[in-house]
């Protein structure tokens, strides 16, 4: 600690060129408008909030307090002498013992520090409340000052917040979309990108090689690589007329049913799709797949985005409005969007469980549709954006009556129901096994109970009937069972629940929602709609929760929308942002507002995402957050042009893809003549001067492997499929509440397993390690951008996993079936993996490698692989700390059609498979250019 000496007397010194009265007036104004709120927001929490202990014995709430100083120093404020004032040293972080505020994130900006400095220089005047107010009111009457613009909202918790000013560039997303003019004949994408490139002194990269273009288009639109034949076809057309060839290819791919799978995946990333509910039970959401298929179908049908939005937010309300008998179950399926987050009320009080759900759904809706992170203004008015906490709770109120239930909804003609019967009987068998085991233990317990009652000459009562009796009048719990049996009984009972629940998969039901009061108790194991809902339901009013705490309810709010964007929803001039209070109309009202053609957040949000997935980076850098802290758009005019055009033309995706892909910018090569210069001046390629190559995603990787080997079953939609995952992980015990979750059992036949990855069973508590390591996102959190860094464990997976070994063998077998000599087999596997034939040097060397491997494998015999049909689990009974074992059955392996393993194939196949494995590991396979 440094010692501070008291400065004795401070003489006011006149500033040159300004008389004292003027100075004082400027100082007072500065204090009233700036300094006071700086002190208030940055200092008072520790140094002076009312009724709290004041830190460092230092009170900042009055001028006297400031002049008096604190426990370690007293020259905190020396009027007219900023350089002598510790206050300034502290806020500048110039002395490490006095860094204030202490948190990096709370530090004052340069500008704020300058304001405090100036105020001290001006004598640090501290006008009374009345005079402060005068200054403040005079300022508020000006809509725009050098500090920015006031945005009208429903109002913050403080007046300071309500009247604070924003820089235009920070609130760009809240301003109406303006469509800039594009010269006639110019391609709008090229026009805006070129304009900026030219200003920076660059030109765009030349057009890419036809093969790179073909791969790019296939991957971007379908998530699958083209076959060698498809590349060949494109080349023929390209040689005749490149423009037509390109345009035809786009049309062909947009018409492919795989388009919906690829773009549906992007949507499901943001919406957090999974087949289970997460948390401790991780209960299956048996019918979630119907929502996944709805999304895929919607993209394939080119459903206008505004409809897509409304169906997902209020499908059930739209369904209610349809005439009975003509209601479309698809609308109920769509509303599953509101059920996508992880949620389980187990061991949670009902109000808390509801709050967790509502916070989650509000945030999800904000991020997904409005690119607005709602969490930021749950506890207080938004720190940076014009989003008052009132608006948070108004949107929260829009969902206040939204209840969760599995609802009946007939299967649709368009739904793929293959495997339904088979799946039902497989599940039944597992249920029967659990029931049988449980019953045996139950009966043993009850036999002992019967004896207990008999011995006392009392009438026998079964477990349920005797539950409420006092201890002395009934046998001990789990009577007659050994500690091992006690543990087993609990496990079997849990299994029975699990398999019963999974039987729901085969019922025509949806993970749905309805409007009504909150049920008295909640259990994620079974959520059902009440048979009768009271007419004219009324909900308790929603209140602002201060600090986000249920314990601190404040002002009442009515349902409403975000007030910062000037898109009213009500004719009521007093409150144009209020939604109807009627329970059955709240979400639909909100949905209509989100899908309103004038809502600037919605249209910018979605076109930004589309752009992102075509170019590997969005125009506005944080697709889930358009606020002041999100990255600003690199090309705001282009973003607005696309948004306006998208809405004007009926919110159609396919048209937008076409528009983007027919630009020259989209067709650029990844190499640029001025690479080095660009690397310096534009390292992130914000100019879009060239194509950024991208590593294929986890799903694309698995799908591409299957496509290359010819194993892919490209059926669309249907029940979740279970690919083979790493067997150690599949069989490894996984804790759930009270028990161990049943083992992961892959689908029995290759045709069922080798479906596209989007159809793979997605368990929140058990990620497929193959997909996880390649950055398949965690479905507990909305993912607006996939990451793709290269880490060493990826190499382990790609080189050593049985999944990769199986694919390599499959490719080798395919080539061997098609060609009978090594020369052509090598050519064929390169062609199937890379979409090109090997050049001479490669061809010779790779052939040589395979020949060497033939010699190697002749000497090294692999071990056959066996799949277990039962597994013994051991568990520590959580109540007693006693370990116990039990047996689990794995019926799928009784009649399992395994992929060909090393021990099943010849030496030559293994040698060729070694090469195939390397091709799949190579960068050429992993990147799209």
């Amino acid at each position: 600690m440094k010692t501070f000496f008291c400065s004795l007397v401070c003489f006011p010194i006149l500033l040159f060129g300004q008389d004292k009265a003027e100075q004082n007036k400027e100082g007072e104004r500065l204090f009233s408008l700036k300094v006071r709120s700086i002190l208030e927001s940055k200092c008072f929490a520790c140094h002076g909030a009312e009724g709290k202990k004041i830190k460092g014995e230092f009170n900042l709430t009055t001028r006297e307090g400031l002049l008096k100083g604190g426990e370690t120093a007293d020259d905190v404020l020396v009027p007219f002498h900023p350089e002598k004032s510790l206050l300034l040293t502290a806020i500048e972080w110039k002395d490490e013992d006095y860094e204030m505020p202490p948190k990096e994130n709370d530090r004052l900006t340069e500008k704020q520090i300058a304001q405090v400095r100036r105020w001290i220089k001006l004598g640090a005047p501290w006008p009374n409340k009345e005079r402060q107010k005068k200054h403040v009111l005079a300022e508020r009457s000006k809509e725009r000052t050098e500090d920015g613009v006031i945005l009208k909202t429903s109002g913050g918790l403080s007046e300071d917040w309500t009247y604070r000013r924003y820089k235009d560039e920070d609130v760009w997303a809240f301003q109406p979309v303006k469509k800039p003019a594009v010269p006639k004949g110019a391609h709008p994408v090229d026009f805006f990108i070129d304009k900026k490139l030219k200003t920076a002194g660059f030109q765009g990269a030349p057009v890419a090689h036809f093969r790179a273009l073909a791969k790019r288009a296939y991957y971007d639109l379908t998530g699958l690589p083209p076959t060698p034949f498809e590349i060949y076809q494109f080349r023929l057309a390209w040689d005749k007329d490149p423009e037509k060839a390109w345009s035809d290819l786009i049309d062909k791919l947009l018409a492919s049913p795989h388009y919906g799978e690829r773009w549906g995946q992007h949507w499901l990333d943001v919406g957090r799709y999974a087949d289970t509910g997460g948390y401790s039970n991780d209960y299956e959401r048996s019918n979630a797949w119907r929502y996944r298929d709805y999304v895929i179908r919607s993209f394939n049908e080119d459903k206008p985005y505004d409809e897509f939005v409304m169906e997902q937010l209020a499908g059930d309300e739209l369904w209610d409005q349809q005439p009975k008998g003509k209601r479309d179950p698809e609308l109920l399926v769509a509303s599953s969007f509101l059920r996508m987050g992880p949620w389980d009320p187990a061991m949670t009080l009902v109000p808390q469980a509801r709050q967790i759900y509502l916070d989650d759904v509000v945030n999800s809706v904000g991020q997904t549709f409005l690119s607005t992170t709602m969490r930021c203004f749950k506890c207080h008015d938004h720190k940076f954006d014009p989003l008052p906490t009132r608006d948070y709770y108004r949107m929260y109120a829009a969902f206040a009556g939204t209840q969760l239930a599995e609802r009946p909804a007939p299967f649709l003609k368009s739904e793929n129901l293959v495997g339904l019967q088979q799946g039902r009987s497989a599940t039944k068998r597992l249920l029967a096994f659990a029931t049988e085991k449980h019953n045996a233990l139950y009966n043993k317990q009850e036999a002992a109970a019967r004896k207990w009652f008999e011995a006392r000459g009392k009438k026998y009562l079964d477990e349920n009937a005797r539950r409420s009796l006092p201890d002395e009048e009934k046998p001990p719990r789990l009577v007659g069972l050994s500690p091992v049996e006690q543990g087993r009984k609990k496990v079997r009972r849990q299994d029975e629940w699990i398999w019963k629940r999974r039987m729901e998969r085969y019922q025509p039901m949806v993970q749905g929602v309805y409007n009504g009061p909150t049920p008295k108790s909640l259990n994620a194991r079974s959520m059902r709609m009440p048979k009768k809902l009271p007419a004219n339901q009324k909900l308790a009013a929603t209140r602002i929760l201060l600090g986000g705490a249920l314990e601190a309810p404040d002002e009442k709010v009515t349902p409403g929308v975000l007030s910062a964007i000037a898109v009213p929803v009500s004719k009521n001039e007093e409150d144009p942002y209020a939604l109807p209070d009627k329970l059955s109309d709240r979400r639909l009202g909100l949905a209509k507002w989100i899908a309103h053609p004038k809502n600037p957040l919605t249209s910018r949000s979605i076109v930004n995402r589309v752009w992102q997935h075509h170019f590997g980076k969005p125009l506005a850098g944080n697709p889930n957050n358009f606020g002041a802290k999100g990255a600003k758009p690199t090309h705001p005019e282009l973003l607005d042009w696309l948004a306006a055009d998208f809405v004007e033309n009926g919110w159609k995706f396919k048209r937008l893809h076409r528009l983007i892909m027919t630009s020259q910018v989209y067709r650029q090569s990844d190499s640029h003549p001025q690479t080095d210069k660009l690397a310096l001046s534009d390292p992130n390629n914000d100019l879009f001067a060239y194509r950024i190559p991208r590593r294929i995603s986890a799903e694309e990787l698995r799908d591409s492997l299957l496509k290359a080997t010819g194993e892919l079953n490209d059926a669309i939609g249907g029940l979740p499929v279970r690919p083979e995952i790493n067997m150690e992980v599949a069989l490894q015990p996984r804790m759930i509440q009270f028990s161990i979750a049943p083992a992961y059992q892959p689908s029995p036949t290759p045709a069922e397993r080798n479906r596209r990855t989007i159809y793979a069973y997605r368990v929140r508590g058990q990620a497929d390690p193959f997909l996880e390591i390649f950055n398949q996102p965690n479905p507990n959190d909305s993912c607006d951008e996939r990451v793709s860094e290269s880490v060493a464990p990826q190499a382990f997976t790609l080189l050593n996993s049985s999944i990769m070994s199986d694919r390599a063998i499959a490719l080798a077998l395919r080539a061997q079936k098609e060609f009978d000599n090594l020369h052509l087999q090598v050519k064929r596997v390169v062609q199937l993996a890379f979409g090109r034939v090997p050049d001479k040097v490669e061809w010779e060397r790779l052939k040589q490698y395979v020949t060497e491997m033939q010699a190697y494998h002749a000497q090294n015999k692999p071990v056959p692989i066996k799949y277990p049909t039962t597994i013994t689990r051991s568990l520590v009974e959580e109540l007693t700390g006693q370990p116990f074992e039990y047996e689990e059955i794995l019926p799928v392996f009784e009649n399992y059609h395994a992929d060909k393993k090393p021990a099943d194939v010849s030496v030559n196949t293994r040698a060729l498979a070694d090469l195939c494995l390397l091709l799949f590991n190579s960068n050429e396979f992993m990147y799209v250019y």
Partner: protein
């Protein structure tokens, strides 16, 4: 914080693969630092590494280190405490264990801690932590990642992000579990929004320690080397066609790192080389302690090799019933191994630089409800009070910090939420939670979510 982007290394890969592979590996290792390269702490600090012993299920404070005589007086009388999950009739449960003062410092330990008293004067018992969550996965996520939602980076990930790793051939954050994963699974050691290099690597108790670490038995290391050289050949030619794309070189390098890890990991986890005496000291020769003993010994070896953060999960502490049986057997399974760990670290002069933490995800209640209609002698989940031990790494020795109320229901003195504990742990590692931030989804994020304070009372 910014990491340097990796250099393009085409010149190195241009050396020609087979011969060049060894030289290239060497050169790369000496070249520019990767994301796991060691970094200086933000302020001077003693702790260089952390070993976290995570008692999953929530150990009971009053039956381990924080005895409450008052509770024994109340045994089986009605409890009217509210705000807990249990509904209906509740009754107090006295501790079934005797307790005594141990060490020079007089720490409290219940009778089944037979070995731990030997190191009592190295320990700091913290009684003020407030878990805030009532159910396992949320509380586990909270203690491990600072967030109840299970999508954020774990403490070990943040530590490696801040300090890097000393050994580039081993993961910087290693996790060991029982056969069964704790609730919430790998989300408990996730890298969250931090780059993938920071995610915890789980050493599996049986089978391959890291998934697919080794090639199948019929492929030798020599076979693997040749395959990697062929791969380098393909990648090199590919890179020549796509200059200016740094990711290609990074990805090539990841294969070489993987190859080095394949060689290094089995050596570290092979405990056969440890003297019988050491293995016995850790309890590896007894059924009850063999597994945890093995993991504790492994933890020491990993930290010795430069691993920054090691976590061991040991379950079974969720004693809603049969507390006497449950807790005594759990205590027995960890008592000797953790004592041996602390002694071993001390003897090797590593304890000052290694912070050992023993904790659960929350504490337990002084009362219980009737389960299945009978008096169940166990305890519920307690989000308001718990107990933990810290040792080494610059924390107080032989100290009790904080206190719970007279029945162990609520933290009463030096009471702090988990975020303050996290800020303190980072502080002990030389990291400042407010500066250890990562820009994600439009804002700077930190372990404590929105800041917290250092619990000064814990620091020596």
């Amino acid at each position: 914080m910014n990491f340097p982007t990796l250099n393009r290394r085409d010149f190195l890969y241009g050396l020609g693969s087979t011969l060049g592979a060894v030289a290239m590996t060497d050169l790369l290792a000496k070249e520019k630092p990767g994301p796991l390269a060691p970094r200086k702490p933000m302020h001077e600090a003693k702790t260089k590494a952390v070993i976290m012993l995570f008692m999953e299920g929530g150990p009971s404070q009053v039956d381990t280190f924080d005895p409450k005589p008052k509770l024994n007086e109340l045994h089986k009388t009605e409890s009217k405490r509210t705000g807990t999950l249990e509904q209906g009739y509740k009754f107090f449960v006295g501790s079934p264990f005797k307790t005594r003062k141990v060490g020079q410092s007089g720490l409290d330990m219940s009778e089944h801690w037979r070995h731990l008293p030997e190191v009592a004067d190295e320990l700091c018992n913290y009684r003020g932590c407030i878990a805030e969550s009532l159910n396992h996965p949320e509380a586990l996520f909270h203690m491990n990642t600072g967030s109840r939602l299970g999508a954020d980076p774990a403490l070990g990930a943040w530590t490696n992000y801040g300090l890097g790793s000393v050994n580039q051939n081993l993961p910087g954050y290693v996790v060991m579990t029982e056969m069964a994963l704790p609730q919430g699974g790998s989300r408990n050691w996730s890298n969250g929004f931090l780059p993938g290099h920071f995610q915890g690597t789980r050493l599996r108790p049986t089978g391959s320690p890291i998934l697919d670490l080794q090639s199948p038995a019929h492929k030798t290391r020599k076979h693997q080397r040749q395959a990697l050289d062929e791969l380098a050949f393909l990648n090199q030619r590919h890179m020549a066609r796509h200059p200016g794309h740094a990711d290609l070189a990074t990805r090539m390098e990841s294969y070489e790192l993987a190859y080095r890890m394949q060689a290094e990991v089995p050596g570290v986890i092979d405990l056969e080389g440890e003297p019988e005496k050491v293995r016995e000291a850790y309890g590896m020769n007894q059924k009850e302690t063999a597994e945890f003993g093995r993991q504790c010994l492994m933890a020491r070896r990993l930290v010795e090799k430069g691993v920054r953060f090691v976590q061991i999960f040991s379950g079974g502490w969720d004693s809603h019933d049969y507390l006497e049986r449950g807790h005594s057997s759990r205590i027995k399974s960890v008592d000797q191994p953790m004592t041996a760990l602390i002694k071993d670290l001390k003897e090797r002069g590593m304890l000052d630089e290694t912070l050992v933490i023993w904790t659960g995800e929350f504490g337990r209640t002084p009362d219980n409800n009737r389960r299945g209609g009978v008096y169940a002698l166990g305890r519920g989940h307690n989000a308001d009070a718990m107990t933990m031990l810290l040792a080494g790494g610059g924390v107080k020795k032989g100290a009790i910090v904080g206190a719970t109320d007279e029945i162990g229901a609520k933290a009463a003195e030096v009471a702090h939420p988990i975020r303050d504990l996290h800020v303190t742990l980072l502080h002990l590692l030389g990291l400042d939670d407010n500066k250890l931030t990562y820009f994600h989804a439009g804002r700077y994020k930190q372990l404590s979510q929105f800041g917290g304070q250092v619990i000064k009372e814990l620091i020596a």
